[in-house]
C-alpha cells in the first residue's frame, strides 16, 4: 500500500530502501551508478572508512605514544608523515582521527535527523497548533547564528567528543523537520492515504507504514549533505579547541598546532594531511549526496 504509488522498477536493483519512484524511472541504484562524481566519492569515502575502521591494524604506531626524542620530526625514519609536537606518529593519528571525525558526523546527524523526523511528522501529519508550534520553534532555531550557538552549547556542556555530537545534534533538526512537514502536508491529501485511513489505519501506523516511506527520500539527501557539514563543524570546533580534546586525535584538532607560525611555515606535514583528509571526506560525501539527489528525485536536478 505504501507502494501503491511506487513503481519499483529495475529488476534486482533493490537498494533495500523503500523509495518513492515516480513514473518510469529506472532503479535508484542504476541512476546513482551513472553519476560519475558520486561513484568517485563513494570509492574515496570507502577507503577513508576502511582506514578509520581498520586504524588499529593499519597504523604503524600507537597514536597516543609520546616520544619526546623525535619531537616534530619530518617524514621518514619510520614515521611516514613525521611526528607531532609530542613526538606522536602523525600517520597513525590521522587514521585514528578518521574514526573520531567520521563518527561525530554520523552520530550528530543521526541525532538531528531523529528529532527532525519526529517533529516534522507531528507537524505535517497533525497540522493545527502542533504544526504552528513546531514551525515557530524551527524559526527560532534557524535564526541563530548556527556556528556561534554550537560553540556556545559545546562550551557550556564542556568540550568533548560526545558534547560536540550533542551540540550539533540538538541544533541541526529544523531543516529536516521543515522538509518532512512539507512532504507530509502534500502526501496526506493523496488517495492512498485516504485508502489507508478508510481501511482503519491511523496515527502511528499511518505515519510509519504509509507516509514516511514515501516522504523520506529528500530527508536522506539532506542528511547526507548534513554529515558533510557536521564533519566541517566538528573540525572547526576542534581546531578552535572547543571540540574533541587532545590527546584524542581528530582531524580538526590536529590542525590546531598550525596556528603557530613556526609550524605553519616549516612543518607542513603537521597540518597539510589532516586538512586534506577533511576536504576529501567532506567532498566525497557531498558528491554522494548529489548522486543520491539525482537518483532519488530525477525531476529535481535536471531543471
Amino acid at each position: 500500500m505504501a507502494q501503491s504509488t511506487a513503481v519499483v522498477a529495475g529488476t534486482g536493483d533493490s537498494t533495500g530502501l523503500a523509495l518513492r519512484e515516480r513514473g518510469h524511472g529506472t532503479g535508484v541504484w542504476r541512476r546513482f551508478r551513472r553519476h560519475r562524481l558520486a561513484l568517485i566519492g563513494s570509492t574515496v569515502l570507502l577507503l577513508l572508512a576502511i582506514g578509520a575502521i581498520g586504524a588499529p591494524l593499519i597504523a604503524s604506531h600507537d597514536p597516543y605514544a609520546i616520544d619526546l626524542r623525535s619531537y616534530r620530526a619530518s617524514p621518514g625514519n619510520g614515521h611516514i608523515l613525521g611526528t607531532d609536537s609530542a613526538g606522536r606518529d602523525v600517520f597513525s593519528r590521522l587514521l585514528h582521527a578518521g574514526r573520531v571525525s567520521l563518527s561525530v558526523g554520523l552520530v550528530a546527524v543521526a541525532i538531528y535527523t531523529a528529532i527532525g523526523v519526529a517533529l516534522g511528522s507531528l507537524a505535517g501529519f497533525y497540522g493545527g497548533w502542533i504544526d504552528s508550534l513546531v514551525m515557530r520553534l524551527a524559526d527560532v532555531f534557524l535564526s541563530f547564528p548556527s556556528l556561534i550557538i554550537i560553540i556556545t552549547l559545546a562550551s557550556v556542556l564542556g568540550p568533548s567528543i560526545y558534547n560536540v555530537m550533542l551540540a550539533i545534534g540538538l541544533l541541526g533538526w529544523p531543516p529536516i523537520a521543515r522538509l518532512l512537514r512539507g512532504e507530509l502536508l502534500s502526501l496526506r491529501e493523496r488517495e492512498f492515504v485516504l485508502g489507508a485511513r478508510a481501511s482503519g489505519c491511523g496515527g502511528a501506523r499511518l505515519i510509519f507504514r504509509h507516509l514516511l516511506p514515501n516522504a523520506i527520500a529528500p530527508v536522506i539527501v539532506a542528511a547526507t549533505f548534513g554529515i558533510a557539514y557536521a564533519i566541517l563543524i566538528e573540525a572547526g570546533l576542534s581546531f578552535l579547541g572547543l571540540g574533541v580534546q587532545p590527546p584524542t586525535p581528530s582531524w580538526g584538532n590536529m590542525l590546531t598546532d598550525a596556528q603557530s607560525p613556526t609550524v605553519l611555515e616549516s612543518m607542513p606535514w603537521l597540518w597539510l594531511p589532516p586538512g586534506v583528509m577533511i576536504a576529501f571526506a567532506v567532498l566525497s560525501i557531498n558528491f554522494i549526496g548529489d548522486g543520491l539527489r539525482d537518483a532519488l528525485d530525477p525531476y529535481l536536478h535536471h531543471r
Binding site: 527560532v140 535564526s143 541563530f144 547564528p145 556556528l147 560553540i151 556556545t152 572547526g236 576536504a279
Partner: protein, 320 residues
Amino acid sequence: MGRYLLRRLIVSVPVLFGITLVTYVIVNMAPGDPVSALINPEQISALGPGWLEEQKHALGLDRPLPIRYVYWLKEVAQGNLGFSYTDRQPIADKMVHRLWPTLKLMLTVQLLALAIAVPIGVLSAVRQYSWLDYLATIFGFTTISIPAFFLGLAAIYVFAVKLRWLPTAGMATVGQPPSLLDSLKHLILPAAVLGLGQAAPLIRYTRSSMLETVRQDYVRVARAKGLTEHAVVYGHALRNALIPLVTVIALNLPQLLGGTVIIEQIFAWPGMGTLAITAVRGRDYPTIMAINLIGAVAIVASNLIADVLYAWIDPRIKYS
C-alpha cells in the same frame, strides 16, 4: 504591502522572544558560575566561607532562573546588554568597536561572492552541460568542502609566508598611519577565503534560476521578436533571474556569520568573531549571550528585509 510588512513584523516578535529564551537557558546550563571561575580555587578558602555567596548575591546569581531571565530581558529591551564578566566593561560599548570590522569583512565577502558567482552561474546555465558547467559544479563542491580555516591557513602559507605579498593578521599594520592600500591588503586574504565558500551556493541558485527564467514565455517572446541571443539572455532574462538571490543571500547569513567567526580567529581580525571565541574560552556568559542575540536579531532582520525587498523588486509577487 503595508499590511504584509506589519504581519511579518508581528510574526518576528515570538521568534525573537524564543531566541532570547533558548540562549538564556543554554548559557545557564553551564556548570560552575562566573564568580568561582574568576577566583583561584586555592584562594577561595582563604576568603572565608560566606564570601562566595556574598559575591553571587551581589551579582544576582542566587535568584531563580526565570526571575534572572526577566531581569535580563528587561535590561536588554532598554539597550543594556550587561557587563562582561572578565573585564567588567559594558558589553554594548565593546560591541560597537567590534561591529564595524565584522561588517566590513562580511560586506566585502558578500560582494566578492556575488562577483564570482553571478558570471559563473549565468554562464553555466547558458551553456548547460558544457565542460564549463561541469567545472563550475566541481568548483562549487570543492569550495564548500574545504574547511575555511584550512583554506585560510593554506592562503597564509602561500601568500604571506612564501610569497610575502600580503600581511598575515589584523586589520592594519601596527605603527603605520592608516591608509586605504594597507587596509585593503589586510582585507584581501580573509575576504577571498570566505568569499570562495560563500560563492558556491550562489552559483547553484543563479544557475537554476537562470535555467528556469529562460524557459518563461516572455523570454520566448523576446526570442520570437528576433532579438539576438545576447540581448535575450542579458537584457531580458538576467535581471529577473537574479531576483531570488536576494532571498538566498539572506538565508545564507547564518553560514556567513559562522564562517566569519573562524576566519576572524585565523587572521586575528578584531571583530565580533574573535570576541565570541574569547568570550567562550573565558566563560564570559553575558558577552556570549549578547553576541548570540545580536547575531539572531541580524538574521531575523535580514530575512524580513529580504522578503520586503523581494516584494518590492518583483511586482508579480502578491502578498496577502
